[in-house]
Symmetry: C2
Subunit: 166 residues, 2 copies
Amino acid sequence: MTNETHRWYAARTSVEQVEEGRVLAPKFDKDGLIPVVTTDYESGEVLMVANMNAESLAKTIELGEAVYWSRSRQQLWHKGATSGLVQKVRELLIDDDQDAVWLRVDVQGGASCHVGYRSCFYRSVPIAPQADAPLADAPLDLTFTITEKVFDPKSVYGDAPNPTKL
Amino acid sequence: MTNETHRWYAARTSVEQVEEGRVLAPKFDKDGLIPVVTTDYESGEVLMVANMNAESLAKTIELGEAVYWSRSRQQLWHKGATSGLVQKVRELLIDDDQDAVWLRVDVQGGASCHVGYRSCFYRSVPIAPQADAPLADAPLDLTFTITEKVFDPKSVYGDAPNPTKL
């Protein structure tokens, strides 16, 4: 596999180069995407999971601000362009086989979720049922771990289409 | 879309149900997978990014231990079954549109990366070049942010095939 998508990406030539090397050689999947996890630099909280293509990763590196690829809109997604909630990248890491990215960011405005919460992960799922506390034989109940919204989505996004797809 | 893959998953009926509801209604992609980010419960460090299918998510909920789907081996991957480095799930969260999972875990043995580091994210990528410190017009240099291995992969995995693909 070659990486001719950007001058900043090396061709992937060996497992050792990819895992132990000191050169960026990202792997994009068959749709041209790489998954990205974004955490708050100070608190460590996971804010969101999204995707980048070759161009958006390069833009993120260049700007020092998170630029994702929106699958629902099929376009570059400079986070905060609409909402003002820009993510300033403090550190960008790549994983062992270079097929996932971790962004550590400061969020201007303090929220990263289009629903209005500071993180997209605001509900927990029950785990590890015990004999005396079994799980229902039905869809599981979620518990809200964050209940307060940082902003009102309607006032920020107006009539823009909701990115959530069924 | 219906979720007839497991009794614990509800059918997805509306954006409001998915985003603001109190019922688990996960979305698996066209390959039947959902991305998962796993962090250390105590430090908050991102340990790995992987995937689950419907069965592995249910197994994770049932066991309270991370069970992923291995794309390279095309089988359920109970993390630690080979290495002993089991991930005990302390909290499992789902995101706004229920198409990503966040596991907060304790790692028995203290490592989650098959290369031997405590995290799969042990290298950083340079960002935000300045006029007086431009980036090279060539593949970017990585910086190791973790340099010490917790275990020797050869002694743990022996001759098992390396999961990294070029």
